[in-house]
């Protein structure tokens, strides 16, 4: 499993861990029933504190992506992929919404926004 932590991105580390595990579950890279590394092991491998990985796992449990079996560990839960997909779309919509309101406030034309999106997508590839 690959998790990439940036110390300079401004996104809390527990959130980076959480989001990346989520993506792996939604994309089925991590399959239902699969055992995840322990909180302590993950903290060591990512060189972060135990509280950080604990927070990430706790939120994933709350959101239903993983489940905990006492004294065994954390496992990937059965996730309804459609609901998870929908959730990601909602998140994108929210972020685009604030981008669009900044654009409107400053009279930046839609064409420019499209161009930015095109550039961002190209960078990814």
């Amino acid at each position: 499993m690959e998790i990439i932590i940036s110390n300079s991105s401004g996104v809390p580390i527990y959130e980076q861990i959480k989001e990346q595990i989520k993506v792996k579950i939604v994309s089925n890279e991590l399959k239902a029933g699969e055992l995840l590394p322990s909180i302590r092991n993950l903290a060591k491998d990512l060189r972060c504190s135990v509280i950080t990985t604990k927070n990430a796992y706790e939120e994933l449990v709350n959101e239903g992506y993983i489940k905990t079996i006492p004294s065994k560990g954390f496992y990937v839960a059965e996730v309804n992929i459609e609901i998870a997909y929908e959730e990601q779309l909602n998140k994108i919509e929210k972020m685009l919404d604030s981008a669009v309101s900044i654009a409107k406030m400053n009279n930046i034309p839609r064409k420019t926004i499209n161009e930015i999106l095109d550039i961002l997508y190209e960078e990814e590839n």
């Binding site: 401004g10 302590r40 903290a43 060591k44 060189r47 504190s49 135990v50 509280i51 927070n55």
Partner: protein, 285 residues
């Protein structure tokens, strides 16, 4: 027992320095970073925990036991690295093994020599011929080799180069893979702590200024950079300390999101423990 170490209202008066009402908690399975400038009281607190200094007021519990009454029992399970080397310099790492074997019931010579090899330390050279970094690594090896449950480390990474520091930090993280163990780590090299500490306790001038989870500090606290006119509009309750610089004001705040919502100032930097220390000590209010 939830807390592997708990200090309640620790006070100690010296002629020119005073520890005032120190409270500190280290839950099991966690690393606590104890920070503060030189002379702030870190070492004095650690020496009180180890019952090296006498006549202090307050209560110190280790593994749920009183540190004075149950001293013998407790010391079997503590590994200690102090700032000043406590091994006689004419001894060799081999000699240390012989001495420690008689000191600790649980001393594990195999583990000790494994650490010596891992750290590339010689077995038969007198300690005085070792470099500062090697001496530190030897102390750490000796502190770990009786399978302690609590590690108390006073500036364990000072004098080590970045590579050695990295190795040592790996060892501390290895150590808490067992969730019954805990680490109290005092340091002024705060970048080491930012990564691995679960809790940060900040001591200054004999008093605890702040005690929080490291994540809470690094995520919520921030430094606002603003102009004088912006600064004058701030409510006094919305910041902790500030520093007037030549071209700007630096303001330490407790909650980035709330501050941004209230004032709409976007130039809020993420904080490092070093910034925090600097502004807490040198800033004004």
């Amino acid at each position: 027992m939830e807390n592997i170490l708990e200090i309640k209202n620790l006070s100690k008066k010296y002629k020119d320095f005073e520890l005032k009402d120190i409270n500190l908690k280290l839950p099991k399975g966690m690393i606590l970073g104890f920070i503060g400038e030189n002379g702030a009281g870190k070492t004095t607190t650690i020496k009180a925990i180890l019952d090296i200094i006498k006549n202090y007021k307050g209560e110190i519990k280790i593994f749920g036991l009183d540190n004075r009454k149950d001293e013998k029992k407790i010391k079997e399970d503590i590994g200690v690295v102090l700032d000043d080397m406590f091994f006689p310099e004419i001894l060799t790492p081999n000699d240390i093994n012989s001495i420690m074997k008689d000191t600790y019931n649980n001393w594990d010579s195999g583990l000790y020599f494994k650490y010596l090899t891992d750290f590339s330390l010689p077995k038969n050279k007198q300690i005085k011929t070792l470099s500062k970094g090697m001496k530190k690594k030897l102390e750490i090896a000796a502190a770990l080799s009786h399978h302690p449950k609590l590690l108390i480390l006073d500036e364990p990474t000072s004098g080590l180069d970045p590579i050695a520091r990295n190795e040592v930090i790996d060892i501390f993280q290895d150590f808490i893979q067992n969730e019954e163990c805990g680490v109290l780590l005092s340091s002024h090299i705060t970048t080491d702590l930012e990564h691995i500490a679960d809790y940060i306790t900040f001591i200054n001038n004999g008093k605890i200024l702040l005690s929080k989870t490291c994540d809470e500090l690094l995520e919520n606290y921030g430094i606002v950079k603003c102009t004088e006119s912006e600064f004058k509009k701030l409510d006094k309750t919305d910041f902790i300390k500030y520093k007037k610089k030549k071209y700007e004001y630096e303001v330490l705040i407790e909650n980035k999101t709330a501050f941004n919502k209230k004032y709409g100032i976007n130039t809020i930097d993420k904080i490092t423990l070093e910034d925090l220390m600097l502004l807490m000590i040198k800033g004004v209010k």
